[in-house]
């Protein structure tokens, strides 16, 4: 194994390699850097997306946060393909903050919506192709041959006729002095050596992560650094009234205690002292604006709302007429709990500042927003706030915040202790589970009418908090009063029905909520896919064949359904030997997934999922094994939460605190997974989230065949 994670910080890399690094400036977005270079007269040391050293090392600058989903490997594959690089020479680093170069959505540098590969496929291939063209040109000049007579393979340039060859590193410096080609030709996909090939692009971070050498934010130990934990209120929406720190300050290692807007910050020499100091605080909270309801009351309130007209989120045909015309009406109500993301590494961040400049180091998922939040709080210009993005120990959506609440708390904690004291702010697991920003509690009220053996109409009224309102992202996603990501997957169906209507309510609560791996699809796919199954069975149709009859306008989704049925040898959902199968499909983030789950009831009465078959169409499969890993992991993640996940509230406060109350899938509960990836030449779309939505409804549909009703309240272990 020759691939090693480059653990050097970007700063260290620049410092250590200053004379060796070449500039390969790209036509796209590189203009700004060029202009800066011309203005200062300094050699341009860093290209926006790729850098090649005289030591042959190819460093890929990755604009997306590595939180497990694989962008360090994926984006490097795109560069290496067009560059014809030697994969063992690839190193990676996260991009600095610059939305003009590294936007994930227009104007905003962030990772979300499974956007890494989707927004990089063209960009990073062009980066690689441009670098290759310049190396070839440099070699041609040196060898006095025609560039078109030079071939490149595995990081080596060759001129066959003169039997000359050289490594990238030999031509890196000369290449850096050449004009950047304005046009490059990308490879014909038929000639790909890495993209779509198994086992040629192993993960660039696997070794460091298997040996304890990978450095996470929690591992930062800077001279003079204090560890900070913050006491937050139990009840959502409560604020600090008063506190007594006298006992906390007596704890060995506690250095200071300061009030900040989100609570009371304890500064200590090390984590244990900080935890003990926080326990010793006496705090009075002002609960006048706090949530007072528990989960059950909120559900009752949502139920009442769902019985009233909401804002129309989608409609086709005349739903009222369809129901008025008679037939069998089927109704269902689905309730989805608050869910914590609970990434293995809880939220954490490091910040140092001297009153004029700041450096933050952490697993930053929304650089543009966080830089603004840090700058505003510290009273600095954004240009004076640097963010060094580190690998993150999971996220599942948690680290991307439209309101930058964690960056704000980090900056407030730094500000309260004053300049020149570096801090590491750490949320404990209790802070994480009790700290909100949950997948919202949702209620879906479904009605369907079956007439003459056909589904004649479908309505869905959904109720849940919008976490986009009031954030910087509101203009992007709230359209005519409808939060489009709250209703995604519910406001249009992949099934062609004569009449359809979707209405929504977005009630408010002080309980903070956030996107959670696959966002609206986490609840929409469940209600849709279990309800269609129920209606199809009412019409006497097979769950696969019945769906396919209605999916004429959704050929890619229909195709994955056919593929998964073939993979699993689907012959209906009738149980055999105590096991039954259920199916579900979902399009999300531009990718298409169908899953079949084989389920039995365990001796403890809990569902046991033995195997999941999956078919995926995510366009060009850049790294098939990363896709396979995301499918396996997405299925496990979805299953754990469907079976066990819930953060219940009583009187506005969570009733659980840690993994003892927030049960998480363990190895003995993980099903086998078999995957087929649809061959495609369509530009790639994401894979981090799309495997999640179909899993829970597939399991529920299987349970229905085992004599259990499809669970209408999640998680499943609630069912008796």
């Amino acid at each position: 194994m020759t691939i090693k994670q480059a653990n050097l910080s970007r700063r260290a890399a620049l410092k250590g390699a200053a004379g060796l690094v070449i500039a390969l400036t790209l036509p796209l977005g590189g203009g700004k850097l060029l202009a800066q270079s011309a203005a200062t007269g300094k050699p341009l040391a860093v290209n926006a997306y790729v850098r090649i050293g005289s030591d042959d090392i190819v460093t890929v600058i990755v604009k997306h946060l590595e939180m497990g989903q694989g962008p360090l490997t994926g984006l490097s594959t795109l560069v290496a393909e067009e560059l014809d690089a030697d994969w063992s020479k690839i190193r990676t680093e996260h991009a600095p903050v610059d939305a003009t170069l590294y936007a994930g959505i227009p104007g905003i540098q962030m990772t979300g919506g499974s956007n890494a590969i989707a927004t990089s496929y063209d960009l990073m291939r062009r980066a690689g192709a441009t670098a290759r063209a310049m190396l070839v040109q440099a070699a041609a000049l040196a060898w006095k041959v025609k560039p078109e007579d030079i071939t490149v393979s595995q990081g080596v340039l060759r001129h066959a006729a003169s039997q000359r060859e050289g490594r990238f590193g030999q031509f890196a410096e000369a290449a850096s002095k050449l004009a950047v080609p304005q046009q490059v030709t990308l490879k014909d996909p038929a000639n790909f050596q890495l993209i779509g090939k198994d086992h040629r692009t192993p993960r660039v971070d696997a070794l460091a992560k298997s040996t304890g050498k990978a450095k996470f934010t929690l591992d930062i130990n800077a001279p003079g650094m204090l560890t900070v934990v913050v006491a937050h209120p139990d009840r959502f929406g409560a604020k600090l009234a008063s506190f007594d720190a006298s006992a906390a300050l007596k704890v060995n290692g506690v250095v200071a205690v300061k009030p900040i807007p989100s609570g009371v910050a304890v500064y200590a020499k090390g984590m244990w002292a900080a935890i003990k100091g926080r326990k010793a605080l006496k705090i009075t909270w002002d609960e006048s604006g706090a949530e007072t309801r528990g989960t059950e009351q909120m559900i009752a309130d949502y139920r009442a709302l769902a019985a009233t007209p909401g804002v129309v989120a989608g409609a086709s045909g005349d739903a009222a007429a369809a129901f008025a015309a008679g037939g069998k009406v089927i109704e269902a109500e689905y309730v989805f709990p608050y869910l914590a993301h609970a990434p293995m590494e809880p939220l954490d961040g490091y910040l140092q500042w001297d009153g004029t400049r700041a450096l933050a180091r952490y697993g930053c998922q929304a650089q543009t927003f966080d830089q603004g939040a840090l700058a505003m709080t510290l009273g600095l210009a954004p240009a004076n706030v640097e963010i060094e993005t580190l690998i993150a120990g999971g996220s599942f959506g948690r680290r991307a915040q439209g309101n930058s609440h964690f960056a704000l708390e980090l900056a407030e904690a730094a500000k309260a202790i004053g300049p020149n004291t570096p801090i590491k702010l750490v949320w404990t697991r209790e802070d994480d589970i009790r700290g909100g920003y949950y997948r919202p509690l949702f209620l879906h009220r479904m009605r369907g009418v079956v007439r003459d053996g056909q589904i004649a109409g479908w309505t869905n009224t959904l109720v849940g908090q919008s976490f986009m309102r009031g954030t910087a992202l509101e203009p992007y996603v709230v359209v005519n009063g409808v939060d489009m990501i709250a209703v995604e997957g519910a406001n249009n169906l992949p099934y062609d029905l004569p009449a359809f209507r979707c209405e929504a309510h977005f009630p408010s609560s002080p309980v903070s909520t956030l996107w959670w791996r696959s966002v609206g699809h986490t609840h929409a796919a469940y209600s849709r896919e279990t309800f269609i199954d129920r209606l199809l069975i009412e019409t006497g149709k097979d769950p696969v064949a019945g769906r396919l009859e209605l999916m004429g306008k959704h050929p890619r989704l229909a195709n994955v359904l056919k593929a998964v049925a073939e993979l699993a040898n689907w012959s209906g959902s009738e149980p055999a030997k105590g096991r039954a199968r259920g199916v579900a499909v979902a399009e999300s983030f531009g990718s298409y997934v169908a899953e079949i789950a084989e389920v039995s009831l365990g001796t403890n009465g809990e569902p046991k999922v033995h195997k999941v078959w999956c078919a995926v169409d995510c366009g060009v499969a850049v790294n098939p094994d990363v896709i396979r890993a995301q499918v396996e992991g997405g299925i496990g993640f979805a299953l754990g939460h469907a079976l066990y996940g819930e953060v219940p509230l009583e009187k506005g406060a969570p009733t659980i605190s840690n993994f003892d109350g927030y049960r998480s899938l363990r190895i003995e509960e993980m099903p086998a997974v078999e995957l087929v990836i649809i061959k495609s030449d369509v530009a790639p779309t994401g894979i981090g989230e799309p495997p999640v939505p179909p899993l829970a409804p597939a399991v529920a549909n299987a349970l229905a065949q085992l004599g259990k009703a499809r669970p209408t309240r999640l998680p499943f272990v609630r069912m008796s």
Partner: protein
């Protein structure tokens, strides 16, 4: 309170409160940050180290509970043919996703294979059930343990 701990083969002196978990001694006093914090209540296994070879949750092991001479081994120093086989298998299967739990997973897997060279699926379940992976890399953890076992047998 002053303690002398045998960590990764060397005696190390630390001055910490009696109730300080071994986890924070390793991470904050000795800068051995490969061992991770995940829950603090022995529910997730991210903090797994070996105490005299036995997998142990360091987050729930107060430093005062260690007996003199007890040998602490962390991910930084776990070695030998079993550890090498496990880590090579982890890389060959591209097990890690976010990677944060994997130090603990590797420490539990090494302890399993030292004790049970040919583990059954039930053995793997029993040994690895205490190690949560929120990325759910379990399919590959199982596969990697089996490959490491096969390689060690060969």
């Amino acid at each position: 309170m002053k303690y002398t701990l045998n960590v990764n083969g060397a005696d190390r002196q630390v001055d910490v409160d009696d109730d300080t978990p071994l986890l924070w001694v390793l991470r904050d006093e000795l800068q051995l940050t490969g061992t991770k914090y995940g829950c603090g209540i022995a529910m997730c296994g991210a903090c797994t180290v070996h105490l005299d070879g036995q997998p142990t949750r360091s987050c729930s092991t107060p430093v005062a509970s260690l007996t003199p001479g007890q040998k602490v081994t962390t991910i930084e120093a776990v070695d030998g043919r079993v550890a090498e086989a496990v880590q090579a298998a982890w890389v060959a299967h591209d097990v890690p996703q976010c990677g944060y739990c994997q130090s603990g997973q590797v420490m539990s897997a090494v302890a399993l294979l030292r004790d049970t060279p040919k583990p059954s699926d039930d053995d793997i379940d029993a040994a690895m059930s205490g190690n949560l992976c929120r990325c759910a890399t379990y399919v590959r953890i199982r596969a990697a343990i089996k490959s490491a076992a096969a390689k060690l047998e060969a």
